[in-house]
Subunit: 213 residues, 2 copies
């Protein structure tokens, strides 16, 4: 639910997508600026929007409760106009210390990221920050189910990348390659196909992760 305050306009990341400093800050959260317009059923939504919509479906059907966390912001100054809402006048983007999504499904704690790549045959590890990987490791130790929803945008293919497979390549990246081969993701992850409701039925992949955990 988005509340619109008086004079409030939704902020459009896309308008500023070419500015490098913004791209640095929000690159890994507001994903998918340069989508081709050849769409196979996702109607130009970003991966984030597709997942939010899927979460909304799962919530409305009583299947799971999963939310995207708000973008962390360091607030420096706030104005308090009389008889209207407080206005934040100066604030900065902070680096998140966790992943973007978490929630509960069938008694299990879920924790995941959503990432896109324009690469064809591998998924670059530079898409992850060290703290995200450490967070997933800590959650998995507590019995959480951790993964990444990976999208290969050139082919509109979606996969669930289990955290264990990410950890394996992450830990070896200094002496080995800095990306995960798509063939490995195909073999050890789970392919997701777009559907109507939910748009991305990622809990099907989660069921398999739970069965194998």
């Amino acid at each position: 639910m988005v509340f619109h305050y008086p004079n409030g306009r939704a902020y459009d990341y896309h308008k500023n997508e070419n500015h490098p400093s913004l791209v640095n800050k929000v690159n890994h959260r507001s994903i998918n600026h340069n989508r081709s317009k050849t769409i196979y059923g996702n109607r130009g939504m970003s991966l984030e929007e597709e997942i939010n919509e899927s979460n909304q479906y799962y919530l409305s059907q009583g299947i799971a409760v999963i939310h995207k966390k708000p973008i962390p912001i360091q607030i420096v100054s706030v104005d308090y106009p009389k008889r209207s809402a407080a206005v934040i006048k100066e604030a900065y983007f902070k680096q998140a210390s966790t992943t973007d999504y978490n929630g509960v499904y069938k008694g299990k704690y879920l924790d995941f990221e959503a990432k896109e790549t324009t690469n064809i045959s591998s998924f670059p590890l530079r898409n992850f920050h060290a703290h995200q990987v450490e967070h997933m490791r800590a959650c998995q130790k507590q019995g959480g189910i951790c993964f990444t929803i990976v999208k290969f945008t050139k082919t509109d293919e979606l996969f669930i990348l289990p955290a264990d497979l990410l950890f394996k390549y992450w830990d070896e990246q200094d002496k080995s390659r800095k990306s995960i081969p798509k063939s490995e993701i195909e073999q050890l992850g789970y392919k997701l196909n777009y559907s109507i409701s939910p748009r991305i039925p990622f809990l099907k992949g989660v069921d398999l992760l739970i069965a194998n955990s």
Copy 2:
């Protein structure tokens, strides 16, 4: 971990605590503005800070992974000064659609709020928003462990208020009282005592909730 950007100063809610519009906006998130200075071991920290410190302890000891969610913000305009971080120039506080804290502990999904009252003998239901109660209900249906850490500030007493007890009074508030008697919380909740590490050992109460779930 807080990142300080160039020229960034931490924003201090306390400076503005008397302004009604801010109080409206951040009341239920940045808790505990009017603490007495008679402290029994919590050294003037707000309840939120105490819980954050406790979560930090649990994380560092590998006991649980629990984080406070960022405050949700609607961004309206952002500046991109050359060679420095993007500055948010206009943004508004949004109402959160979930509770403030969630995480994973012993394979369980935890979801909770932290609330204070200056009342002596009861805890007013107006401390909660309908969407927070609905969110806890949805999480509990999925097998999550939901509760509120309640602080009676006049006596520095802390309790775990199980979600079921909250739901009971919440659902009856139209035909009955609009607060939960402290005696009920003492009887059906769990009293928490301040300790050194962690400052608020709330997972002890969670163990009892899990045992009874």
